[in-house]
């Protein structure tokens, strides 16, 4: 998920593993173009590795790629969103802390990006699921102050409390961003019916921007730091000489959607 040069030939690579969570290892010779390990330790590669105990960091002794995720190497939008997912996991998890659920979510989400499923939907689903797994699940149905069911109207989201305030309790916050009815509906669809239902929704550009800004600001609040990947992705794809990112048509999900339209 990240890598840095250790010296002329070697790299320190950060992996995300089912048994040890975030896990930094030494890959000897990986900076040399002739390295046999190098290609297996590329960003976002799903690989099976053999390790040897080292003094400070363990050392990779063998590697076999399970999925190279080629689309993430050639498509800048898929690359940018995969980077964002890696960044979220890097910033929100601790080194050597097992989190098999987050691991499986990451593996599944990277595979979906590689299969060209709509990166917007895959990424929002990933974010919501990661928040839930790590204990930051936003309350999407009830007012966090009085507990009343939220009505179909724009409501302010209070990041520090992880939920919305109803019109009666709204005076308790100032400066919390309002989330539109459609943005709230989209999040509830993801939450209730999963990614399969979300990829079938037509999400106009403005709503995409609103939802991305919402999850980004909540993630920033949780991690207490800025995330870079989506900003860089926008700079790369919205920049000069490029056409604006297309909205509209989402490729269908690779599995049947479980049921209903948004609630």
């Amino acid at each position: 998920m990240s890598r840095m040069a250790l010296n002329e030939a070697d790299r320190i690579v950060t992996l995300f593993t089912p048994a040890y969570g975030k896990y930094r290892v030494i890959a000897k010779g990986a900076r040399r173009p002739t390295s046999r390990l190098g290609p297996h330790l590329e960003y976002f590669t799903h690989a099976r590795l053999q390790m040897a105990r080292g003094r400070e960091l363990d050392v990779v002794t063998g590697a076999e790629t399970l999925r190279p995720h080629m689309l993430l190497r050639t498509d800048l939008t898929a690359f940018g969103h995969a980077s964002h997912m890696a960044e979220v996991v890097l910033r929100l998890t601790e080194e050597r802390q097992e989190n098999a659920a987050v691991y499986h979510l990451l593996v599944k989400s990277l595979a979906l990006l590689d299969e060209a499923v709509d990166p917007f939907a895959v990424t929002r689903h990933f974010e919501l699921a990661v928040m839930t797994l790590l204990g930051y699940r936003p309350e999407l149905y009830r007012c966090i102050e009085c507990g009343r069911d939220l009505e179909a109207e724009p409501n302010p989201f209070v990041a520090s409390r992880g939920g919305f305030l109803c019109p009666v309790c709204r005076h308790r916050t100032t400066g919390s961003p309002m989330l539109s009815i459609n943005a709230q509906k989209y999040l509830r669809t993801l939450d209730r019916h999963g990614l399969g239902a979300a990829v079938r929704l037509r999400v106009p550009d403005g709503l995409r921007d609103e939802l991305e800004a919402f999850t980004s600001s909540y993630l920033r609040h949780i991690a207490e730091r800025d995330f870079h990947s989506l900003r860089v992705w926008h700079a790369v794809t919205d920049g000069p000489g490029t056409s604006p990112p297309s909205a509209g048509a989402s490729p269908p999900a690779d599995r049947p959607a479980p049921g209903h339209a948004p609630g």
Binding site: S2, A9, Y43, T74, A235, V236
Partner: protein
């Protein structure tokens, strides 16, 4: 823990040297103290020579205002060389220029980006010498641009992005396609492999 143990047992000037050396890439705490004690045992002349070499590099080496390679004179000797053709080979780091020059395959000039697009690290196009490249291309009419960024995912993303920006400017954009395994750093490729990859470059 080791830091505390060291600060109580180590004279402050030595501790300071260890701390400074430890900031260098690839130098861990152990290597830093080994190097520091090596300097401590070395002759005064050797120590002064090292210190002067470090200062010299900061005071005398600048970036070429045309290609952004490191140089003693601006523009650099490659940019001033009238026997070179107008083609531009785009690389990530100054060391890549050294590696490519060793192959003797390229007759043109270079452009050093000083990195690659890396979203996770927050490195976007604005952090690289990309606007400068576009300006050069419109002024110099280079004919061919060789994108010799690394063959790993960030190098590929950078090449994809540059390709998109360069094609409308009416230049031929090529990339050393085959021969180099994926994932390595260009500067460590041997010159035979690198030369072969350059000779076999293809339009993107």
């Amino acid at each position: 823990m080791s830091l505390q143990r060291r600060s109580s047992a180590t004279a402050p000037p030595v501790a300071r040297l260890i701390d400074e050396l430890g900031k260098l890439p690839g130098i861990g705490a152990k290597t830093a103290s080994r190097l520091a004690y090596h300097v401590l045992r070395a002759s005064r002349e050797d120590a002064v020579a090292l210190a002067e070499a470090i200062l010299d590099v900061k005071e005398r080496i600048v970036l070429c205002g045309v290609c952004f390679n490191t140089t003693e004179e601006d523009p650099c000797s490659i940019c001033r060389d009238p026997t070179r053709d107008a083609s531009i080979c785009v690389v990530q780091e100054p060391l890549d220029v050294v590696a490519l020059e060793r192959t003797g395959q390229l007759k043109g000039k270079y452009h050093v980006l000083h990195g690659a697009i890396s979203p996770v690290e927050g490195i976007g196009p604005d952090r690289l010498k990309i606007q400068e490249l576009l300006r050069r291309v419109s002024q110099e009419d280079p004919g061919e641009i060789i994108l010799a960024t690394n063959l790993d995912i960030t190098g590929e993303a950078t090449a994809t992005y540059l390709h998109r920006l360069l094609v409308p400017l009416g230049v031929t954009v090529t990339r050393p396609a085959s021969g180099l395994p994926v994932g390595g750093d260009l500067e460590y490729a041997d010159e035979v492999t690198l030369g072969r990859a350059l000779a076999g470059r293809r339009p993107l």
